[in-house]
Symmetry: C2
Subunit: 237 residues, 2 copies
């Protein structure tokens, strides 16, 4: 299937190159509820981006880059594990032809496993994440890739089984960093920033239930994302 797509691209049947019709750089954010933030599912321009780090990044970079006016798109979906991202990669990523793709995923894979739900009966995080990245590099070899580190803090939902949570997420953090190296992606560390923040105010001030960021937690993520990405070769101009 991928070969067929690649042939179509080579033969110009399907313009897969980036810098879309508008000529503006398109940045796509993928992930779960942390990215989603209640974003619009239709063309409602008022509530299109959701309330998450995506909105904060779009506001901050959009107001600095008025000459080039980058386009920010959010396709996060609440509850998604990495395999759920893979399932909808055609419609929600490839068809949008992003120039830069940022992924934040992992906490739902961990959640299902820690809570021993049927949807977490085996750990498919590494395998499914690798599928996504391999296919993405094949279909859009020059796409800019940003992998954000999954994170938790000890409060609310994570408190009762903290040791299992921490073991699982620490593993996913190492894997995400490793996959970033392997696929030439920029890695955005987030756990260390949150750990440091929790020395200034309670964990729940940043992640209200140990998993989901407050507006202030999202600000922290957005600032770190902008700092790391804008200093990298993928910097949005």
């Amino acid at each position: 299937m991928i070969r067929i797509l690649l042939e179509m691209v080579k033969e110009g049947m399907w313009n897969m190159t980036s810098s879309t019709n508008t000529g503006r750089t398109r940045i796509l954010f993928q992930g779960d509820s942390i990215t989603d933030g209640g974003r619009g599912r239709n063309e409602d321009a008022n509530h299109w981006l959701g309330q998450s780090y995506v909105y904060l990044i779009a506001g901050a970079l959009g107001s600095r880059l008025t000459a080039t006016r980058p386009e920010f798109v959010n396709r996060g979906i609440s509850g998604d594990r990495v395999s759920d991202l893979y399932a909808r990669w055609n419609e929600d990523t490839f068809s949008l032809k992003p120039d830069l793709l940022s992924i934040l995923i992992g906490v739902n894979d961990a959640w299902r496993i820690v809570e021993q739900e049927p949807s977490g009966v085996t750990d498919r995080f590494e395998r499914a994440y690798r599928h996504i990245l391999e296919e993405t590099r094949e279909v859009q070899p020059d796409i800019g890739l940003v992998l954000c580190e999954p994170f938790i803090l000890k409060t609310g939902a994570t408190e009762a089984r903290w040791d299992i949570w921490q073991e699982k997420i620490t593993g996913y953090q190492q894997l995400t960093r490793q996959l970033a190296d392997e696929f030439g992606a920029v890695f955005v560390p987030l756990q260390s920033v949150l750990n440091e923040a929790s020395t200034k105010a309670d964990a729940s001030y940043w992640l209200h239930d140990g998993v989901h960021p407050t507006a202030v937690g999202h600000q922290l993520i957005a600032d770190q994302w902008i700092d790391i990405v804008q200093k990298s070769p993928l910097a949005i101009r």
Copy 2:
């Protein structure tokens, strides 16, 4: 009715003083769809603040003020005219006992009048706004008041009847500034900032339909709000 409330407050039957139970400064945002931003109507902590300048202000100030952790509350409602605000002032303002109250209102009063709808048959902007401010000063004499200037740009919804739109909004802008003086409120100018922004990118880059801000437009409002309020005697510490 107000006298009864004030008597209750005086007699300690109802603690109306600010600095709420939590001891944290509470900042309340009131307005229409521009403020609302699809905010939560229930206690869903993930989508509580909506996607608007409120979210951007909460993120930015919340991450700077970790020692005092101010609380940000959004009670904007899409479609509201100033008289709609007045109608729900008890439940959506007084009962929340904010330390600081920020209002952005006017565009729907103008809209209804410009479009000659039944809901705009007379112009009640000044009278209803004064009712709100008088009553607010009576019930919470020491409340910090911030009045934001209503704004439009010439694109989308405002284009066809631009002259009438502009005349109406210019009047509301002068009235808002005058009411701010009269009631000891900090006035946040926004039209000039948007006018200047539109020399850098199309009007629709900031207000997608001439009325509703994009994420970038909201960033502009948030930056100006923070700049003006934090330099004023109402600065949030």
